[in-house]
């Protein structure tokens, strides 16, 4: 991998269009379905390696692990089965949830640029209802389709005060467009079909601070980060419609290496989404609630000398969803169980990681099962 190649991929990252995570009926409300910006490697371990994984975009301090110019991207294919009181449906979609490029600046400092899904509001809904028109009941069929979401563009720098203490800072730009199309047609052809398209665009900024420490050399690593996002500007069809107060995020993680072949990791993340509760209710939404998420995972190196030779990864994760479908139900939740592996190619300059995850989501009578296959391809100089 040449330096030019890395720069080319980095440019691709910066020019990439709207990203997306998986579409879901749980992404209808608020800003949509939040996404954890982790690489395919970390995803295979339930996301638990994300605080320490240099190609994930959670903790800016983890960037220190990059020693050579590196670029990577991830592809996620998901298959979904949704159920709610009005019926059930299956669906599938493909997205590109994370682009990443980075490299070392000097022996103590590394930097990266990444583009990842912050929230995804891609969904399609269809429903029928009788409407009273001119004294008669006419069946109306509505379809509501939304595509897009919010992309998190991050520039991160990590500095190693010592081999056992690293701090990082990330500057975030939140941007994205949500294209919402509403259609209605009637069984009675005397009534015209209607179509309405609106574009909602978002813009905001934030900062994250992270740290990694190694209290027990080669055995235990600890990490944590905080993130502060400013108010998110919301425009509707280029018209300013106000702002949403964004959450503050706090995360802690630990990574244990009991042997040369085994890595165990866990994290806990808390986000204060309720800060935008009032903002959403004023827009006729169902509000937002604070959320917590946790993950536990492992990576087992089949050959301790060659970590890129089909390691086995596995993990579980749990997360609360911030945007409720109704004000009656408790917050939605999602659970995930994942496995993964990977290998090196091109003389160790290329990485190929694969993660397979089964996800369950529910909120009252609304449920969803999803199978996701994530591929990550990285290139190093």
């Amino acid at each position: 991998m040449t330096r030019t190649g890395v720069v080319a991929i980095a440019l691709g990252v910066s020019l990439a269009g709207p990203l997306g995570a998986q579409s879901s009926q749980f992404g209808v409300r608020g800003l949509g379905l939040p996404s954890l910006p982790v690489s395919a490697r970390s995803h295979g371990a339930g996301g638990a390696l994300g605080f320490f994984d240099q190609e994930s975009s959670i903790n800016p301090a983890s960037v220190i692990g990059i020693t050579r110019p590196t670029a990577s991207f991830n592809v996620l294919q998901s298959w979904r089965s949704s159920e709610n009181p009005y019926g059930d449906a299956t669906g599938r979609d493909t997205h590109f949830p994370l682009f990443f490029a980075g490299g070392s600046i000097n022996s103590r400092m590394s930097g990266s640029l990444s583009a990842s899904v912050y929230t995804d509001r891609t969904f399609g809904l269809a429903f029928q209802q009788p409407v009273e028109l001119r004294g008669e009941s006419v069946l109306a069929t509505d379809t509501l389709t939304s595509k897009g979401g919010i992309t998190d563009l991050r520039g991160a720098l990590a500095y190693a005060f010592s081999p056992r203490l690293v701090v990082g800072v990330g500057l975030h730009l939140l941007t994205g467009i949500n294209r919402v199309e509403y259609r209605r047609h009637f069984d009675d052809s005397a009534y015209a079909a209607v179509r309405l398209v609106n574009e909602v665009s978002y813009s905001g900024a934030g900062v994250s601070l992270g740290a990694m420490a190694e209290p027990i050399r080669s055995r235990l690593q600890l990490a944590g980060f905080v993130r502060f996002d400013g108010d998110l500007g919301v425009d509707r069809n280029d018209e300013d419609t106000g702002e949403l107060s964004m959450p503050q995020t706090l995360g802690v993680a630990a990574q244990l290496t009991p042997s040369r072949r085994l890595i165990l990791a866990a994290h806990l993340i808390r986000q204060s989404w309720s800060r935008m509760d009032q903002d959403l209710r004023e827009r006729d939404g169902a509000g937002a609630v604070n959320t917590q998420a946790a993950a536990f995972g492992l990576e087992w190196l089949r050959d301790g000398e060659r970590s890129g030779r089909f390691p086995i990864r596995a993990g579980v994760r749990w997360a609360e969803l911030p945007f409720r479908l109704t004000t009656d139900d408790a917050a939605g939740r999602e659970y995930g169980v994942s496995i993964g592996t990977g290998f090196l190619f091109a003389g160790g300059r290329g990485t190929f990681d694969l993660a397979l995850e089964r996800v369950w989501r529910d909120e009252g009578a609304f449920t969803e099962r999803m199978m996701g296959l994530k591929l990550g391809i990285g290139l190093r100089q």
Partner: protein, 398 residues
């Protein structure tokens, strides 16, 4: 890393990249309606007071798209006439040679006819070539005598509008088509239906799709047998029709059709919320007749409603893409509804067209129907728009 692994990796990426999206799940409001459910509503908008007007004089005899011929029907008696150009006495076959007439044919494009009848018969009369559009019905009747009859021809019961009725005359009838020297080869033809028919037909005209054609089949004395038979064809170059009863005109009403034809304009004022943000599902113009409809059951007249590009009163330019249309009943006094959603849709937005409807009869001046509707000056029953519209929920709201 083996070649196989490379191939597997590339195939996986390609397979994922090729997948399409299937997003839709069933739903229901309010759970799945961020920003609220869409609402439908209905509003009736009366025509703006004194803004409804009839203008007369759009189509005259020369532009009329069809000639009316009728007998014993409610709209009234109608007679038509054509004048054909001069037929020469010689025909060019190497040189100009005289000819002998074998037969004569008249081809009449049928614009409309009563499809419920299979016994329609036309009477063709010779009329003076001096006949013009100033002729009155009484003067015309005086010309259509037994002595002037050329022939009586039956319309085939399979004949339909858009087809051509062709009549070939030969034998003794030809003597009635001889053209006096003073007429210089010009031929005048008057047409009526057999008395007591109780129906009507609409024939092609100069101002319509095609005038009738007069064809003469002749024989020339030349040695080449293949060139002995010749034909001369001429399309009519003047035409007109006259009705016994002029259309009812009433300054307190709105009327359409007739000759010269009448058209009407109606103006409305849509509420701002409909113009700006509502989506129009259905818009119906309701017209109350001021006198019973009178038409032919098997050949209904069609009322056309359009928008206008600019409000210039009677000289407004109507739109051609958005049109509402409705067949008129041949009798009765029921309220007429015309769907005009596509027209009203053009009124919306910052650059919407004038909120005006332009009413005319299809085949303007060439239709038996001459409807008369109530107006804002009629006391009651003025035209009105019934609009069903949708106020969309703000589904895009986060």
């Amino acid at each position: 890393m083996t070649l196989r692994q490379n191939v597997v990796g590339a195939a996986l990426v390609a397979a994922i990249g090729a997948c399409d999206q299937q997003l839709t799940v069933p739903g229901q409001c309010p759970e799945f309606c961020p920003g609220g459910n869409s609402q439908v509503a209905e509003i009736v908008i009366p025509v703006t007071l004194d803004s409804d007007t009839t203008f007369v004089g759009y189509v005259g005899n020369l532009e009329v798209p069809a000639l009316l011929v009728s007998e014993g029907i409610e709209p009234g008696e109608a007679r038509a006439w054509y004048q054909f150009p001069s037929r020469p006495d010689t025909v060019l076959v190497d040189e100009w040679l005289p000819y002998t007439i074998d037969s004569v044919a008249f081809s009449f494009p049928m614009v409309g006819l009563d499809t419920l009848r299979d016994d329609l018969r036309l009477i063709l009369h010779r009329v003076p070539i001096t006949l013009d559009t100033t002729v009155t019905f009484e003067e015309m009747e005086a010309l259509l005598t037994d002595e002037s009859v050329v022939d009586t021809v039956a319309l085939a019961d399979t004949l339909r509008a858009g087809q051509v009725a062709r009549f070939v005359l030969s034998g003794d009838v030809l003597s009635r088509l001889e053209i006096p020297a003073d007429d210089s080869g010009f031929l005048g033809l008057g047409i009526r239906l057999v008395p007591g028919t109780g129906s009507g037909v609409r024939l092609g005209s100069l101002g319509g799709s095609a005038p009738p054609v007069w064809t003469t089949y002749a024989r020339v004395e030349v040695s080449d047998t293949a060139r002995q038979r010749q034909s001369l064809s001429f399309g009519a170059d003047q035409n007109g029709y006259i009705m016994a009863r002029p259309p009812i005109t009433d300054p307190d009403a709105l009327w359409l059709g007739g000759l010269p034809s009448a058209r009407s304009v109606l103006r409305f004022e849509l509420p701002l919320n409909i113009r700006d943000s509502a989506l129009i599902l259905r818009a119906t113009l309701e017209l109350v007749p001021a006198s019973p409809f009178a038409g032919i059951p098997g050949d209904p007249g069609i009322l056309q409603v359009r928008g206008v590009l600019r409000d210039l009163g009677g000289k407004s330019t109507p739109t051609f893409t958005a049109v509402g249309a409705r067949e008129l009943p041949s009798s009765g006094s029921e309220t007429i509804s015309v769907e005009v959603q596509s027209v009203v849709e053009l009124w919306r937005g910052a650059n919407g067209l004038p909120q005006m409807l332009y009413l005319n009869m299809l085949f303007d001046g060439g239709s038996f129907d001459r409807p008369l509707f109530r107006s804002t000056r009629s006391g009651m029953g003025a035209p009105q728009l019934r609009i069903d519209y949708l106020v969309p929920g703000r589904t895009e709201q986060p």
